[in-house]
Symmetry: C2
Subunit: 320 residues, 2 copies
């Protein structure tokens, strides 16, 4: 399939919004509603580094988009549009491209975002996907990393470690998970659900927010640095899925390596408005678990058992 | 250099604008002035495909940015900000990164654009640069490809074929260019000057506009398809640099292969307001040359000598 046919047959159905100009101009043309800011984020993924090369193309599309959408969620933004830069190696044929774009279509329908434009290269050394996602947030209401205050409570959405367990399973490092739990962690690895609704709901409640795509500890350290604070995290309070608990009981070392390994597209949130948080949990069903407290900067990020002894993890998170 | 140090030492000086949030959040936060639209374009480049791998890192940075800025120019947009996704192989060390970012600094200073955010990968199979550039245009004034009309005059900015001659020279396919001409074509290959001022000046004058980064004929065919028209181009009217004329005289076959080979970040423009165009040429010094006429769609794009005989080029342009 040559570029023109690829654009016309496969990409155009993803770009039905006015701003994409039918993918026939040099650029897209976005209108931003009055009193809004545009939130812009970029994630670049390469096979073998960020995802398994033998993944289903629709799963690869989902994961690449979810990584970007999670950054929008962390800012409290609503998804708007995205630019797709696709570097194809010799391995991706027409059927692969079709399936990849079906994955994009699914994620577009799920999260309300549309293709605005992009670029395609053939003959790349390895499959490379770079997405720039655009979101909208009312003026001045974006969530930031910079305003966590000493004494704030620290929360996380969802459960931790599932994606790393999914990867461990796909790599054959663990094999005794019951089928339903195995399917769950693989889903968490390939099809993470960015916390877009939680991000929007946390506007005006969170003092700081970010996603923990690189791992809880690494990312908490970044949030603390941006806010000039420290944090104490209660290891025994970390929210686990049934799969997480299953592995924690039977393979504690593997579990410890997964709990902060990254690829969990969950949000780390600080807040002093505990009633506001309770209301989100109780009324909206937002899965927020308190995991610790913001402290003075000098303390760094401490991961402690309930009895106050420090927890040393074999792997603290993803360094780019 | 680890990611945090790289961001702090090398990238942060490129991101001094408020919207970049000091590169310490999940995303950038752009404010669009009232009554403006945001123009968004993405170009992905990989070494060995889009540029010579042994290029100076500052030249590589310039070329990658220029490819994006040229798309903004084609829409009549003023540069605003850009997202940088950088896929580094094992070859790029700290000195390379420093020089690359000095190149970005130079292009930022030249064209008035700032880094808003991005992503970096290490361990890539080949150096890959994906930039998404943002520009601003007053509401409704963006130049498009879609409104060329039969009878419009067809223009091009600057001169054609120089970048391809530069590449031919760097690849050893030509060796007898006088030094000053050799330096000129190498500059045109590595440091193209996107036609941003011309793009802005053409608002309200051009009926259609695009850049000819893929080559005059390929890109003219795209403009014609988008406008449902055809075009006749006068081969003997194509604007040549002194270097182009030199090679045309001595190596006519090589020259013919270069004239429509792409990488010329010039604008192709249709207009019926010939006085408006003349005014740009005379008063503003915009280098616009009339090269043909828009015709009925059925004619396709015809490249003719002055006597009406068709010109067959050995290479019509870049197919992605």
């Amino acid at each position: 399939m040559r570029e023109n046919a690829f654009i016309h047959n496969v990409l155009k159905p993803l770009a039905v919004n006015d701003y994409a100009l039918g993918l026939q101009d040099d650029a897209a043309l976005l209108e931003i509603p009055p009193l809004h800011q545009l939130v812009v984020t970029t994630d670049m993924l390469q096979e073998g580094i960020h995802f398994l090369s033998d993944g289903h193309p629709a799963d690869i599309a989902w994961k690449a988009m979810a990584a970007n959408l999670s950054d929008l969620a962390a800012m409290g933004a609503a998804p708007h549009s995205y630019q797709l830069a696709l570097g194809l190696s010799e391995t991706q044929d027409s059927a692969w491209l079709q399936a990849f774009c079906e994955g994009l279509q699914a994620v577009q329908a799920q999260f309300g975002i549309g293709l605005s434009g992009g670029d395609t290269i053939r003959g790349c050394a390895a499959l490379t996907i770079s997405i720039t996602a655009h979101g909208l947030v009312p003026m001045g209401q974006a969530l930031r990393r910079t305003h966590a205050k000493v004494g704030d409570a620290l929360y996380v959405t969802g459960t931790l470690g599932d994606a790393a367990l999914g990867l461990a399973l796909l790599q054959g490092k663990i094999s005794d998970l019951p089928t339903s739990l195995a399917e769950f962690v693989i889903q968490r690895y390939w099809r993470p659900m960015p916390r877009l609704e939680a991000g929007v709901a946390l506007r005006g409640i969170a003092t700081a927010c970010m996603d923990i795509s690189d791992g809880l500890l690494v990312d908490c350290a970044k949030l603390c640095a941006a806010s000039s604070v420290g944090a104490v995290i209660d290891y025994d309070a970390l929210p686990l899925s049934e799969a997480g608990r299953y592995v924690q009981d039977r393979h504690p070392e593997l579990f410890a390596a997964c709990i902060s390994a990254g690829d969990d597209y969950e949000l780390l949130v600080s807040a002093s408005d505990l009633e506001g948080i309770d209301s989100l949990v109780m009324k909206d069903g937002t899965p927020l678990t308190r995991i610790g407290t913001i402290t003075e900067a000098g303390n760094g990020v401490q991961l402690l058992h309930a009895d106050g002894t420090p927890v040393i993890l074999p792997y603290a998170g993803y360094e780019h």
